[in-house]
């Protein structure tokens, strides 16, 4: 079919931001109660070199495969990659100074002021964005002091010292309060870099993009429509998608999978040709597990913002076909039992095509880096998910009980994503899947995402969606040669 939808390109970005950790939701609350924690926190943050060489981060940008990562002994923060590169086949990692530069060039309302020294460092460490680089300006000490005195907001740090300030827009509007704007601007900036990388590394030009779906979890809006706004067009504007409009799909962590499915349907229907699905970083989640890390003598590992972007379009022969006929969803009436959830998300769509669970080469579930979560209350989330999938295969009589570990190892992978909400939800594997298909090593992968709807206290329900990707016909032929 002419409009067979496919994921054509993917990109992933990590922005190291150790001085942003204190403004994560958990650190903000804990530091207010115990200011003395700040010193302990500062002593447990990682350097750029450590973050760069951290094996899960190198996996995220594609310099290592998930199988490479599985072969590296834990703890990964002690077994760093030698000769680590900040650029990878799927994207890149940037420094905090570069992130400040990105936030400045994304700031259309003069919300953020940074020092001259930081602006200079930002310009030297952030490449590209020629059309907006002149927005990376710095302020003198006097200007910065005046800005701080004249505005509500809070000071921002770089390398441990005050180097900027972000202001509230409206003192009576909690939706436009400095902290909310900081989260939104960080999300926009990181998403901008992911989309920019995506388009630069593909033959598709910014002006070819017809539509953008943002999947980030930030609440953009003002007092009359908290969270009702959109980041998609704001991001598209910065990267030059002049022919696109867009909207946001909100579904907690499951949003990217909802959005990729929707994008594929939009392409299949012929409404739009090229649709970008994007998601910026979740500043609120930085340092979420920092207390557990401090208690256990582990470095504070939630020190990066992560972002990602994908282009969905008609199959070009070198892509991953997104099988709309094998889409899974957890319907409202399905019930909350794990069995009901996995039946709906995994088994039902496969059965429609006469497939068994073992016919899927790899499952990508919640890919949270276990090193971040298992010191606290979260355990190894991907491992739990793969064990559950294996148990499902046992219940279905596809494998024996003593084959569960082997199933999890063969069809799963270690978690390598930062705990950035919507980012880990299966989708960090997409570029790896595409690369493996190009190598002829992978015929079918299933992306499974779940969303914790109950967190918003409007329902006790969970959500989940899934889809299957397979190599384009062109890829299959090229590997047959």
């Amino acid at each position: 079919m002419q409009n067979d939808p496919a994921i054509l390109y993917s990109s992933y970005v990590l922005a190291h931001a150790p001085d942003f950790v204190r403004y994560g939701s958990k650190p903000t609350r804990d530091l207010a109660a115990e200011p003395e924690l700040l010193e302990q926190m500062a002593g447990s943050l990682r350097s750029w070199d450590e973050v760069l060489a951290y094996p899960p981060n190198q996996t995220f940008i594609g310099n290592l495969t998930p199988d490479d990562l599985a072969a590296i002994e834990r703890p990964w923060y002690e077994n760093l990659v030698s000769d680590a590169e900040s650029e990878g086949p799927f994207g890149r990692m940037i420094t905090q100074a570069a992130l400040y530069g990105l936030m400045k060039l994304c700031d259309d309302f003069d919300l953020l002021m940074i020092s001259e020294a930081l602006a200079e460092q930002a310009r030297s460490e952030l490449t590209g964005f020629e059309h907006r680089r002149d927005q990376i300006t710095g302020a003198t000490t006097d200007e910065l002091t005046r800005f701080i005195d004249d505005n509500d907001g809070f000071e921002l740090y770089h390398e441990g010292v005050v180097a900027g300030f972000i202001r509230s827009v409206h003192e009576q509007d909690a939706s436009l309060e400095a902290h909310v704007l900081f989260e939104n601007l960080a999300c926009k900036a990181t998403a901008v870099l992911a989309v920019s990388e995506l388009l630069e590394n593909s033959p598709i030009n910014p002006e070819d993009v017809d539509y953008l779906f943002n999947t980030g979890e930030e609440a953009v809006g003002d007092r009359y429509q908290r969270g009702g706004g959109s980041l998609s067009k704001a991001v598209g504007e910065v990267v030059g998608c002049v022919n696109a409009t867009g909207s946001d799909i909100k579904a907690f962590c499951a949003a990217p999978v909802h959005a990729l499915l929707t994008a594929a349907a939009v392409v299949a229907a012929g409404l739009h040709k090229y649709v970008v699905v994007l998601g910026g970083g979740s500043q609120a989640k930085m340092g979420m597990k920092f207390r557990a890390h401090l208690r256990n003598g582990v470095p504070i590992l939630e020190d990066c913002l992560a972002s990602m972007a994908f282009i969905v379009g008609p199959d070009n022969g070198d892509a991953m076909r997104l099988r709309l006929d094998l889409a899974g969803k957890h319907p409202i009436g399905a019930g909350s039992s794990p069995q009901a959830i996995y039946q709906a998300l995994v088994v039902d769509p496969l059965e429609q095509a006469g497939l068994e669970m073992t016919d899927v080469d790899r499952y990508a579930v919640e890919l949270h880096n276990p090193e971040i979560t298992e010191h606290g209350d979260g355990g190894d989330v991907p491992k739990t998910n793969y064990r559950t999938l294996a148990a499902m295969a046992v219940l279905r009589g596809e494998i024996e009980r003593d084959e569960m570990d082997a199933f999890a190892a063969k069809h799963g992978m270690p978690g390598f994503s930062p705990t950035q909400g919507h980012i880990p939800a299966g989708v960090p594997y997409l570029a790896h899947a595409h690369a493996a298909m190009r190598r002829g090593e992978l015929q079918r992968a299933m992306i499974v995402a779940k969303g914790s709807l109950f967190l918003g206290r409007m329902t006790q329900l969970v959500d989940g969606v899934s889809f299957v990707v397979e190599p384009s016909a062109g890829l299959t032929k090229s590997t047959e040669k």
Binding site: D30, R291, A292, R295, G335, S336, S337, P338, Q339, A340, Y342, E374, G376, D377, G378, G379, D380, T384, R387, T388, A390, A391, M392, V394, L395, R401, M404
Partner: protein, 108 residues
């Protein structure tokens, strides 16, 4: 444990006697099950929430424990717990929840 949930558990414990109240957990691994059991018995070990330093000493069971399973509907149990029974490290989870329920020592 979520701070709001700690406050709720604290309030409910104050309103009823510990003979009437039972906490049932559903965590899939021993680490988090142990943490929750500790929170409702000895107090919040992370010292972050309303139960920090509040030893409620509530009777706490994991859904995988035979003691509470026996009185539940077997079909409903299979539907909602059957999968986790297969996938989780049942013995390890029960060991830690029991440890906190029984007052325990300093360590297991």
């Amino acid at each position: 444990m979520d701070l709001d949930d700690q406050a709720n558990v604290n309030r409910l414990a104050e309103e009823s006697s510990s003979e009437e109240m039972v906490v049932i957990l559903g965590q899939p691994d021993s680490n988090s099950a142990g943490l929750f059991a500790e929170t409702v018995t000895r107090g919040d070990p992370t010292w972050a929430g309303p139960l920090a330093g509040v030893p409620l000493g509530l009777p706490v069971y994991h859904i995988l424990e035979p003691e509470i399973r026996q009185s539940m509907d077997a079909d409903v149990y299979q539907e909602h717990v059957g999968l986790m029974e297969l996938s989780a490290d049942v013995d390890e989870i029960i060991k830690w929840v029991k440890f906190y329920r029984e007052g325990g020592g300093d360590t297991l």
